[in-house]
Symmetry: C2
Subunit: 534 residues, 2 copies
């Protein structure tokens, strides 16, 4: 039972899928999220385009990664009022800088905690304000909406982390497929399947699936906290629009939960096993592919590392946000190891950089991770980088910075395939120690290689899975038979609270009658005995 | 988006799967259930054998369908004490006859209800007594166990409806895959994933997923009832053995829930959508295949039906159990229609049989269901027949007799693809009316054809899915990353009851302190005012 066998199978399956004739192409309206989310979505729509489908992407005029023109899609560009529009890249870099400052200055104090969440919530509200404004701009532009209607789209493909597309799809009565990891209230599984907080860690809480009592208490509190944020900070932006455009009997959450199919950017070598639903397909790591040869310049640098090999470092789309005091600690640690280092770095060059370290503005990350000489990957714990690391079996050192990156790295640590250094506590000593640990303890690599072999062993490649279900929903104009509509029940009925109350009441009445009867009998018997004695 | 396209794809996928080289064959120990369950299991092990794996089937000396020798497996035959051994076929036919008599005589009375469940529970206990005795006979036969150990099996493939294999696999420390629809407590989903009774109908209760309040109450009662039966009637057979052979710290249910992968004989064109788990694969209808040409004799009979076409009738493995008074009502109804009828019938020939009806002892059911002239299928609602009907898009008339057949037919009725006649209330008039309804209302056929097109549209054929995951578990010696072990938590922790109590207590203390402080302040203020006034 060798890996080679499953790989051959996978290649054959993929080949046959690509060779399959495209009988009837469809028209797909795409609502992506910018930044790292777009990297994934772009790959999916590229595949859909290659299968003959016509792709139209909705973007804003200040979009960061999403270009107006590309060979595989046309776009609809919406201009938002200047006061609301966000320059994505700068916005997130500023957020990162502020968050790091708050954490370093506030430490574990209550004021630090309050500042942290105030900053985070105001950022969250700003992003959703922009997304909801996109809906208003589109709905109010009658000519635009008519032209979209006239285009007769077959499907809306939506990243529901920013759910503008959910409202537009409802207005256009389009079947809807999600390319999803997060929704407004956090991890998307939570509204699809019943997710007991006793073993399913909540978004925002960096815990494993095996929690102590106090961790379970915290997990429950985080769950309540997330729900409150969602209800009070995020959803009001959309509730307002749903009521305005669809009337008060339509519920924003029902629109969200009514998606026909959820393409979940999750794989269970990464995520802990948890309940799911028949209309969920797992495509985590669908962007991974075998590495291609490096440029001769890079290959030469890499080969110069000799038997030691090299380390890769990248902090993804937030690369600009790392403060120089942290960069220079990292540079100092790197200077002390015999390995070569390739570091994707933008901004002020650390002046203590070692001779072994090459700074680059961009690098072919996947090709480098697939190189035989790579020894470890230093990343921020975004899922794209993590899945590439898993795919190539390269152990990780995580420096999580924002959002889900902390939780992501907890998952990799729980598998024994990574070690984490907190950015605000990073020193040259503890960072060096962590690198040494990951490089010299063979368990990290062997655990990552085990994950890699599990991850690659699939009956269908995740990207083909994604394309298949998008086409399935188009073919059948939905996937109602895979989707429960139990979310439309009142909450007390869904949780059987009414049934439990009813059964308790019946039990109580029966008990009361029984006790009453027994008492009556006792009294009668005692009465008779007394009268006999008398 | 035509069906042709997905079919081409499916064929290519299947072809590539079959062509994939078998690098390293494994040894599989199979614990099947006899009767209709064996029909499925046999097909799966035939495919596994064709892929080069070595199959060993454990059977009893009185097995009904499972032969001692076959070209695709060898067998281990265990002889049970005569007092415990069941002659399967006669046992179930007698059960059916008794159940029908009880239902007809008892009607809806309380005594009828009591007799019905007494009969059912005593049958259930007998079956599990036999299965648990199989474990004892194997464990006590040291030579047999040693020879099994020496054979170095790679995997146990178990139908856990009768969970003898679960105990043997645990003893042998083998990874375990279930080919499953039922476990001891009913529908297997209930112990794999959280299954809210508000929309998931319980085993034994024939309701849809959209229930009224009183239906939800009944569903909850059935759930409690099933759990009690399981704890009091079924599990004691195995608990006793688990304690005897593995000690008191091992729990039978944990062994059952610890299976690496569940191949669920379910498809969501049939089952209502419900929560599931990452270590569940759906293989419902994996036995279905395109029809082959009929024998010239049958083809001639079928062609003689002219434009009317023909109806098929079969009651599956319990074909012998239908009382003659019901058979003759069915015969009388058939005699009144212009269609031809092919009826799989064993036992006394109804004397009022029409000229249009052909009685046969066996028939190529799949080939007949795939014939262009077939108009409807009269069945008992066993899942094998239902999936064949779905596959070929043939509307059904159901006469459910035992076990899950009532629930199965409710599912087909809910899809608008079948109509049901209760066996004990069947008359020639209502049966004829039902046939006419299904034949002449085109919605039944179009609904069934829609189900067929959804059912056939899959990225991988369900049989290939089954083979893939069996091999996956062998390759990786388990599938721990797909399986939650939350079932090992104490029940109060799993349901977060301890966390909820703790948080309520904290809330109460905080409230008490706040109220206390306020009261103290009030008293002080009032006291000051009084002293000022004085």
């Amino acid at each position: 039972m060798e890996r080679g066998r499953s790989l051959t199978l996978l290649l054959l399956l993929t080949l046959s899928f690509l060779l399959s004739p495209d009988v009837n192409a469809g028209k797909i309206l795409v609502f992506p999220i910018d930044g790292s989310h777009w990297v994934n979505m772009n790959l999916l729509i590229r595949s859909l385009h290659a299968r003959g489908h016509e792709i139209t992407v909705v973007r804003t005029s200040t979009s960061w990664y999403i270009k107006e023109e590309a060979s595989h899609y046309r776009s609809i560009t919406v201009t938002l009022p200047e006061a609301i529009s966000i320059e994505d890249q700068d916005f997130f870099v500023t957020l990162l800088v502020n968050m790091l400052t708050i954490q370093r200055e506030g430490g574990g104090s209550i004021m630090g905690f309050v500042n942290f969440y105030t900053e985070m919530l105001s950022c969250l509200s700003r992003i959703h304000q922009q997304a909801s404004q996109l809906v208003v701009e589109m709905f109010e532009n009658k000519a635009l909406m008519q032209s979209i209607r006239d285009a007769h789209f077959d499907l809306a493909l939506v990243d529901p982390g920013l759910p503008a597309g959910v409202l537009i799809a409802h207005e256009l009565k389009l079947p809807m497929v999600f390319n999803v990891r997060w929704i407004t209230s956090g991890e998307s599984h939570f509204v699809v399947a019943p997710s007991p907080t006793s073993y399913v860690p909540t978004s925002g809480y960096a815990a494993s699936n095996k929690m102590s009592f106090m961790q379970r208490v915290k997990n429950m509190l985080y769950y309540i906290f997330n729900t409150c944020i969602d209800k009070l900070v995020v959803c009001p932006h959309y509730d307002r629009l749903v009521e305005r455009y669809f009337g008060s009997d339509v519920n924003f959450y029902h629109l969200l939960q009514g998606a026909d199919f959820w393409l979940m950017r999750v794989d269970f070598v990464f995520e802990f096993p948890r309940p799911t639903m028949p209309n969920v397909g797992y495509i985590g790591g669908f962007q991974c592919e075998p590495s291609k040869p490096l440029s001769s310049e890079l290959e030469e640098f890499v080969q110069s590392s000799g038997e030691h090999g090299f380390i890769l470092m990248s902090l993804g789309t937030l690369v600009k946000g790392l403060p120089v005091e942290i960069s220079s600690e990292i540079a100092a640690a790197f200077a002390q190891i015999p390995h070569k280092v390739i570091w994707r770095h933008v901004g002020e060059r650390p002046n203590n950089l070692g001779n072994n370290t090459l700074l680059v503005k961009w690098m072919p990350q996947n090709d480098l991770l697939g190189h035989p000489k790579v020894r470890a990957f230093v990343g921020h714990g975004g899922t794209n980088g993590i899945y590439e690391s898993i795919y190539h079996g390269v152990p990780m050192i995580g420096i999580p910075l924002l959002f889900d990156q902390f939780e992501n790295m907890v998952r990799m640590e729980a598998r024994g395939a990574a070690k984490v250094v907190e950015a605000i506590q990073l020193t040259r000593e503890n960072f060096l120690q962590t690198i040494q640990e990951v490089l010299h303890n063979p368990s990290y690599r062997s655990n990552m290689e085990r994950l890699s072999s599990l991850h690659r062993d699939k009956p269908v490649h995740p990207l083909d899975t994604a394309v298949y279900w998008v086409e399935f929903v188009m073919r059948h104009k939905g996937a109602a038979h895979l989707r429960t509509e139990s979310y439309k029940m009142p909450w007390y009925a869904y949780h059987s609270l009414d049934v439990i109350c009813f059964l308790k009441a019946v039990l109580f009445v029966l008990l009361a009658i029984t006790v009453g009867c027994l008492r009556f009998l006792c009294l009668r018997l005692c009465g008779r005995r007394k009268s006999k004695q008398e």
